[in-house]
């Protein structure tokens, strides 16, 4: 086991990363806290004095607050559901032997390389535009009225765009996990005549649980703070104003730094609740 000597060495080795991250977290956080108790309006001369918890009260009582929490949860939940379900299906498909596995795998990973701004721009203009978008052409070809995706089905559209970006990630993790599944075990089950559904339910899915947890953990971290996709497409209209976006509007559009900072503190609290919740599950699963 580790000696005293290696323990202190280990601590020393961890120090830079820990100190850096601590500073990265604490310095802006302290400043955000400081601002959140202030009436701070840069366009009106900046610091207008302490206001206690006024910003906090105002932020939650504003009519936009709860809808924004709801929108955040719908988007995160929707993307997680889609990527996990389709990720599992896709992973099982790609696990089968077929011709051109390498190329198909490249095609499937590709969306992950596309920067969010680009993918949002491309989807918004070239696919979802109700006049010139490809979907509109397709709809008209079948005699249907084009849908204006980003206003009539705004949340769905955003979930679709984000899911497209993250499906490759989910698929790959799940594929790697499936490939490690003992094929003998599967064959044995097949011999026993277990129907494929039950094989999936009792052997494949339990085996994937750890991988699914990882997918959920990592994606949640990134999804809670999605910004570019909304900024580029709807700018928060049509019920797509997430908590992140609401804060952005407060700080940058209204230039109310105090109010926005209070919102930031709420967002940090929300993120931490989600984090604790997730880590409970993941923490257990990671030891396995």
């Amino acid at each position: 086991m580790a000696t005293q000597h290696s323990r202190s060495a280990a601590r020393l080795m961890m120090a830079p990363a820990v100190v850096l991250l601590l500073a990265w977290m604490l310095v802006p956080l302290t400043m955000t806290l400081w601002f959140s108790f202030k009436q701070y309006l840069p366009l009106r001369g900046g610091d207008l004095g302490w206001v206690g918890f006024e910003n906090y009260v105002r932020f939650v009582t504003s009519s936009a607050f709860w809808p924004s929490v709801q929108a955040t949860l719908i988007i995160v939940g929707g993307v997680l559901a889609i990527t996990v379900v389709f990720g599992v299906l896709l992973a099982m498909l790609l696990d089968q032997p077929f011709w051109g596995q390498g190329i198909v795998r490249i095609l499937v990973i590709a969306p992950f390389f596309v920067m969010p701004t680009v993918s949002a721009l491309v989807w918004k203009n070239m696919f979802m535009d109700p006049v010139n978008g490809l979907f509109a052409h397709l709809w008209r070809a079948f005699g249907a009225d084009p849908v204006s995706w980003l206003s009539e089905a705004s949340l769905f559209s955003i979930v679709l765009i984000v899911s497209w970006q993250w499906l490759p990630f989910a698929t790959l993790i799940l594929l790697t996990a499936i490939q490690s599944l003992d094929s003998e075990q599967l064959e044995a089950a097949e011999m026993d005549g277990a129907p494929s559904l039950s094989r999936f339910w009792h052997i494949i899915l339990p085996h994937l649980s750890r991988a699914i947890t990882v997918v959920i953990l990592i994606q949640t971290i990134f999804l809670l703070s999605i910004f570019a996709e909304i900024f580029v497409t709807t700018q928060g209209s049509f019920g797509t104003r997430t908590l992140t976006y609401l804060i952005f509007q407060r700080v940058l559009e209204s230039q109310n730094v105090g109010l926005g900072s209070a919102g930031g503190v709420y967002a940090i609290i929300l993120a931490n609740i989600v984090a604790i919740f997730l880590m409970r599950i993941v923490g257990k699963n990671l030891d396995a």
């Binding site: 961890m14 596309v114 680009v118 052409h137 064959e187 804060i247």
Partner: protein
Amino acid sequence: MARAVTPRRKALTTLAAWAVGLLIFFPILWTILTSFKTEAQAISDPPVFLFFDWTLENYSVVQERSDYLRFLWNSVILAGGSTILGIIVAVPAAWAMAFVPSHRTKDILLWMLSTKMLPAVGVLYPMYLIFIQMGLLDTRIGLTLVLMLVNLPIIVWMLYTYFREIPGEILDAARMDGATLRDEIVHVLTPMAIPGIASTILLNVILAWNEAFWTLNLTAAKAAPLTAFIASYSSPEGLFYAKLSAASTMAIAPILILGWFSQKQLVRGLTFGAVK
């Protein structure tokens, strides 16, 4: 892969897999195709797929308007620099966590990950002030640091999971031979860790390359990477699909190519080392 399958089944699977693959890839393919069309063809109804007059005009227009290479160079510096810095800081930390674990290791790891959940928007104003104070606005150094910090938790976590796969017995054996801590790292661990480090590097280059919040808000002209380049092509006046496509293709091509050439490592990297 020892499972026997009938050719019929294999053919069906092939068909299904290719269909799904092409469907997922289609938006990118469509963007690339559109970038070679004229603006009028880009919106023609019905859409033209392959049979149009291929033109490079959009690329020359985009290049003329914005100096692509400068943005590209900044992207390379920022993505590369932040990854290298991150690796330098993260390798020792991950090594310590993996080989000298204590009861707090997991807490520290999870805490590190949780810093990634802080909403960037909430701390933009403070960060801006800090950057002004330190004279870091629109500098590559400042942005490299930020990107490094943003991705550091992921780097540490990935490296940790890779390092943990390295069997401890090898270390014990080395120690028996009287290897020092330094020897352990340089001669025993590093060679075994290289594949994991390579995957980590790749994944982080991609994450840093695509980061669009800090890169857009903390740069102006000198340090602006490709994310800023794209921001000047979104909804300008008049028809712009073809130009937007060309700019998009230019922005994603380098990373797409890098990703494809290093697919094997990347697939491993994409799984964050957490799944075997």
